[in-house]
């Protein structure tokens, strides 16, 4: 056996230094590590998507069928029977343009809030920045969203949406929705590790949130004095903005700005909550 010290293949003294302390690591160090592991966001999201439609007959078509069927039900009950006003746009298009961003958010929160508890085999066996887990869960919903967007394109062609270069405005709106979902979902994921009550609260909470958000109805239906509260719900602004872009209407910049602030605050709270408990995840799962 070669003496290791004289072996020519011995790796050069590594510059990598990992310090493990009983205190929480610096935020900057954690963010740097998150960046180093950025490929893992992609891999975990890719795994979720691959696995999601395995052994289904319709496969990824479900991504567009689900919002389409919801849209049909909403159109029948709210569009035809209840005659909910839809800002002068055909109700199917109006509903779909609300369901689509809402589903992106709701699916993201649903998947990420259960993601940490659902990955004991990773958390108890290997180290990587834990924030990637809820992050990837949110990201995997983006693929479903993009496929479901085909339905939106068809409806816009049929009912006369505002097809122009301004549609690129959807990109930042979608980005903000993902960020919001990661904030809410990441916070819930952290709490869920110790308090499994989260699993029962989330579906109920999402339902209430949907009613507090203009998905089925239009924000213009809300009396002016209540609008302030609506502005505190970032999802309300994002869906309104999403529709405004699709229908070629003016944007509510003030509301959007406030919602962006709320979203970033939510992300900050989530990161803080997550970092407080992430070191002990393995002990509770």
């Amino acid at each position: 056996m070669n003496l290791p010290a004289t072996s020519p293949q011995q790796p050069a003294t590594s510059e990598i230094h990992i310090a493990i302390r009983s205190t929480r690591p610096q935020l900057s160090a954690e963010l740097r590590e998150l960046w180093e592991h950025r490929e893992l966001f992609y891999f975990l999201a890719w795994r979720d998507i691959k696995v999601r439609y395995k052994q289904t007959v319709l496969g990824i078509a479900w991504a567009v069928l689900q919002p389409a069927m919801t849209m049909i039900v909403f159109t029948l009950f709210f569009g035809k029977l209840a005659r909910v006003p839809s800002d002068g746009v055909a109700y199917p298009l109006f509903a779909y343009a609300g369901i689509l961003p809402w589903t992106l958010m709701a699916a993201g929160v649903g998947a990420s809030s259960g993601s940490v508890v659902g990955s004991p085999n990773l958390i108890t066996k290997v180290y990587f920045p834990r924030m990637i887990i809820p992050g990837a869960a949110v990201l995997s919903g983006l693929v479903d969203f993009l496929i479901a967007a085909v339905g939106l394109a068809l409806l816009m062609a049929r009912y006369g949406g505002h097809v122009s270069w301004t549609l690129v405005g959807l990109v930042p709106v979608v980005g903000l929705i993902l960020l919001l979902a990661a904030g809410v979902g990441g916070f819930l994921a952290a709490v869920n590790v110790k308090y499994r009550d989260v699993r029962y609260i989330v579906p109920f909470f999402m339902q209430l949130w949907m009613f507090a958000t203009p998905v089925i109805y239009s924000a213009s239906l809300v009396p002016a004095r209540w609008r302030v509260f609506l502005a505190l719900n970032p999802m309300a602004s994002y869906i309104e903005a999403f529709r405004a872009v699709c229908f070629g209407r003016p944007l509510d910049w003030a509301g959007l700005g406030l919602s962006t602030l709320v979203t970033f605050a939510m992300v900050a709270v989530a990161v803080r909550a997550f970092r407080t408990v992430e070191q002990t995840f393995a002990d509770y799962i």
């Binding site: 070669n2 590594s14 990598i16 990992i18 493990i20 302390r21 490929e39 891999f43 795994r47 393995a282």
Partner: protein
């Protein structure tokens, strides 16, 4: 290089409560538990255990260190802290170099995905870059020998194929510090040998290896230095053979006997718990060395804790290379197997004949199991160890030959030898006609 400096890891556990028999009892207790949770006094009802207690040591680059100890000694917790899976309560650890931790085989594998997809995914989770995985892909698949099934979902793999592929990914991760926990306990002996070979290769190129194992034989083979842990603390740290000997002797003073004096602390469950394991020579004495020509007994005692159950004892003989030579089970005694057990102590003795196992160090793993349903009540590796010696005094299998004599068994077989009458002339080497 690794430095571990006064590391303590505490776990807080709630006090164990008695089970509630009826729903009527359970309801008020649930209520009480709920109110207690919100009261400040809750902390007093909890116990703190030190899974690691002031552990300090240093490992130089290129060193291979084995970590041994009984179940619950803190070995796995130590690896988890080093692998950043859980945080220490106190103390500091510094690791210089890229760390790869192999706490199980198949981390990140998803049963629905194909072998190809899992290699990429698992590689990424273990810390490889995408480009690195793609470059090593062919080598990984070749090492695992699963080329034909690489596009089949791994849920259809045999457990052997699954293990091979999973280990192959981990083996091609090229960290400077490798943390390994028991992964070699799985797979067939041929594959285990390859895993050990891969780890030895690792060490020989100056990588640092920290290896937690129950398998003394592979620890001795791979590591020059061994750390022995007990109750969360390091109790010995030194040359591999010395520390492993001490480990095997701990408790009784003889590596050939192991006794758990009280039922509560013995390995097992509510049905059966081990009490003692001994090696006795042909004269009934507890003996760490056995003459190859003589028979000897392996004695296992256990508490049967319930009537109506039929626990059975099985013993595994493992040699220094980690190869299981044989497994034997007391249900081979058919009369006993059909006899209902009463609660109490049971002694099972297995006789091994003389001139059967080859010389060398042997380790016994003892288990108490039930069949239908299959349950493992207790399983302890390396419970006792003993040496089989061949003194080559002329009446043994090797006669007077004192050189290397390979083989894992050394039975005295019957040879029939006779000259063949022949009409053909037989020549000696010198060319003279012999007959």
């Amino acid at each position: 290089m690794i430095t571990v400096d006064h590391v303590t890891k505490q776990y807080t556990i709630g006090t164990v409560q008695a089970r509630y028999g009826t729903l009527r009892d359970a309801v008020p207790n649930v209520m009480r538990a709920m109110t207690r949770r919100f009261r400040a006094g809750a902390a007093s009802r909890r116990t703190v255990i030190n899974a690691l207690n002031d552990v300090s040591f240093r490992v130089r680059a290129g060193e291979a260190v084995g970590i041994i100890g009984r179940n619950g000694a803190g070995k796995s917790t130590l690896l988890k802290v080093l692998g950043r899976i859980t945080q220490p309560t106190r103390g500091a650890i510094d690791l210089y170099g890229r760390v790869g931790s192999l706490l199980e085989v198949g981390t990140g594998f998803h049963p629905e995905l194909s072998g190809r997809e899992n290699v990429v995914l698992s590689g990424a989770i273990l810390g490889m870059r995408r480009a690195e995985i793609l470059r090593q892909f062919d080598a990984i698949v070749a090492f695992a020998e699963v080329e034909r099934f690489i596009d089949t979902p791994v849920k259809f793999y045999s457990s052997g194929m699954y293990m091979r592929l999973a280990f192959a990914v981990a083996a091609h991760l090229q960290p400077e510090i490798l943390l390994i926990d028991e992964v070699l306990a799985v797979g067939d002996s041929n594959f285990q040998k390859r895993c050990l070979g891969k780890m030895e290769e690792f060490r020989s190129i100056g990588r640092t290896v920290l290896f937690v194992s129950h398998n003394m034989a592979s620890v001795v083979r791979l590591c020059q230095r061994v750390i022995l842990m007990q109750d969360g603390a390091v109790v010995a740290d030194g040359p591999a053979d010395q520390v492993t000997r001490r480990y095997l002797q701990s408790g009784t003073g003889s590596p050939a006997e192991r006794v758990w004096p009280d039922v509560a602390g013995a390995p097992g469950d509510g049905i059966a718990r081990l009490h003692a394991v001994r090696i006795r020579d042909e004269r009934g004495r507890i003996a760490p060395t056995i003459d190859i020509r003589k028979s000897f007994d392996v004695e296992v005692e256990y508490w049967a804790l319930q009537t109506g159950t039929r626990p059975t004892v099985s013993i595994h003989f493992v040699n220094e290379e980690g190869i299981t030579l044989l497994v034997s089970n007391d249900f081979n005694n058919r009369v006993w197997w059909r006899t209902p057990r009463g609660p109490g102590l049971v002694r099972c003795t297995c006789r091994l004949p003389g001139n059967f196992l080859a010389e060398g160090q042997l380790f016994i793993a003892a288990a108490v199991c039930s069949y239908n349903p299959d349950l493992v009540h207790a399983l302890e590796y390396d419970v006792v160890s003993f040496q089989i010696v061949d003194r080559s005094e002329g009446d043994g299998v090797r006669g007077e030959y004192a050189g290397n004599w390979p083989g894992v068994v050394r039975p005295m077989l019957e040879w029939h030898v006779e000259p063949i009458p022949t009409a053909v002339a037989v020549f000696t080497t010198s060319g003279d006609v012999l007959s």
